[in-house]
Amino acid sequence: MKIVVLVKQVPDTETNIKVGDKSINEAGVKWIISPYDEFAIEEGIRIREKSGGEVIAVSLGPDRAVEALRTAYAMGVDRAIHVKVDDYVTFDSTYTSELLANLIKAENADVVIGGRQSIDTDSSQVVVQIAERLNVPHVAMALKLEFDGNKVTATREIEGGTEVVETSAPLAVTAQKGLNEPRYPSLKGIMSAKKKPVDVKKPEELGATGSKLEVVSLEPPPPRIAGRKLEAADAQGFASQLVKALREEAKVI
């Protein structure tokens, strides 16, 4: 089984984001692997441990994305490919999915696994777009994956519950929390990851046709409606004030 896992580098949630004109100011930003992609890496490794084959971690981004690939190596992937894009519109899912789908096609992978969304853009688009470009089925929000040869049985989260689906490889999967518990890289893994090769691909080599989005501007979040703390002598006082505020002032209930 040849498995591609998609690994995106995103700013750590606790990081302070400074908004520039068309992109953020990256100075001082701490970068991490998008949390859902960790489930993807882990699942790739588990499939290989069971069925054999190879796990290839792919990250698209500027030079720093290599750090994410080193972490994937330390967790146990077999190969790493960096799709190096320097003037990257991080937000354009169709451009991203085009580059990645072309790479995956060339690799002839059986399974592509990514996170259910990346936590910087929250678009939930790239992996399913890749499935469409490769003309293969997909399972989104996977909570459990089982392979029997090419036959795949999966449990996934749907609105209000879960669903069991059957499909077959080649396919694309998006990982939801609950799919597995990602392992911590071992010290030995971290040491050896430093020396492992990272294959670099440029957009031109992957036949990119270009971005379909234009960033008009970035802005700070809208100011919140000024908040106020209610004053009351007891719980009953708070309750009647709140009910009044929500019904008469905010008019939401």
Binding site: T94, G160, T167, L218, I225, G227, R228, K229
Partner: protein, 319 residues
């Protein structure tokens, strides 16, 4: 041609509010760029909903009978309608289903897509979509440069404004085509309660509720308000409630009109999921908790006293 195509959504045979929100938003865009609004519903019973959608600006309400939900089947059917109507703009819900089929529709139509938009306006004949990025720490405005401009839109982010459209009813012959993922079974045991994603009111509990035996206190308030039940990650990790209730960065993103946070500290990862709520109420006994920085109304008090009092007060006024 500058038409807008809206994809609406039904649930248990009823029209979801997002269908009206998107039709209304589509009407405003169509008026600005000079076109018609077509709202598509996946149903064999489109006549039942045409009036509601006409009243918020739909010129045509299209029923497509694509059977049980499957992302591939819906994408095939919706794409067939797009090919026929040739819209300039397509609006889809950023719902669990919408996220899945929209990705396939965008590729089929060779269109750029902005997902999870919360604001839509028009500039120079093109839609400008605003969306929160980096956990809501910034907002970005985008234009889509492809011929068809596609957007998925967050529930509760668009106003519903009455406006009469022509409301002609059409039945589409589009079919689901080949679907390669087969649904074997569904477990909807959490299914009858209000869903977080489209709830207009959410009552959430955090570690401050002390233990799973105390959920009824929170649930009573939620039931009284017809609200969905949310939870912080701390309560999910402690095993007090299932992950499907988790609000936040690694849970659900919600945008209700009113979010009532009970015993939740307001960690950045939690705010990432609910920070765009219109009104936020925080009930927390620690006056310095970060949740008060975003709360419209703050109550510094013990939730075990205030929440039951609130429930009975609401019961009184709501009858």
């Amino acid at each position: 041609m500058a038409d807008v195509l809206v994809v609406g959504e039904l649930k248990n045979g009823e029209l979801k509010k997002i269908s009206k929100e998107l039709t209304s938003a589509g009407r405003k865009i169509a008026d600005a760029i000079g076109g018609k609004v077509h709202t598509v519903l996946i149903t064999d019973n489109v006549d039942a909903f045409a009036g509601d959608l006409k009243a918020v600006g739909a010129d045509a309400v299209i029923g497509a009978n694509l059977g049980e939900f499957s992302p591939e089947g819906y994408a095939n059917g919706i794409f067939a309608i797009i090919q026929e109507k040739k819209p300039a703009v397509v609006l889809m819900p950023h719902s669990a289903q919408g996220k899945e089929y929209s990705a396939r529709v965008a590729i089929k139509a060779n269109a750029g897509i902005v997902a999870d938009a919360v604001g839509l306006s028009v500039d120079g004949g093109k839609v400008v979509a605003k969306k929160p990025i980096y956990s809501g720490k910034a907002y970005a405005n985008f234009k889509v440069s492809s011929e068809i401009q596609m957007f998925t839109v967050r529930a509760n982010s668009q106003e519903v404004t009455p406006k009469d459209g022509a409301g002609a009813v059409e039945k589409s012959g589009a079919s689901a085509g080949e679907v390669r993922t087969k649904s074997i079974s569904k477990d909807l045991s959490g299914g009858n309660k209000v869903q977080l994603a489209d709830a207009s009111i959410i009552v959430s509990g955090g570690r401050g509720i002390k233990g799973p035996e105390n959920w009824p206190i929170i649930q009573d308030l939620a039931d009284t308000l017809g609200a969905a039940l949310g939870a912080s990650r701390a309560t999910v990790d402690a095993g007090w409630i299932s992950h499907s209730h988790q609000v936040g960065q690694t849970g659900k993103t919600v945008s209700p009109n009113c979010y009532i946070a009970c015993g939740i500290s307001g960690a950045i990862q939690h705010l990432a999921g609910m920070g765009s709520s219109k009104y936020i109420v925080a009930i927390n006994k620690d006056g310095d908790a970060p949740i008060f920085k975003v709360a419209t109304y703050g109550v510094v008090a013990d939730l075990f006293e205030v929440v039951p009092a609130l429930t009975s007060e609401f019961k009184k006024v709501l009858g």
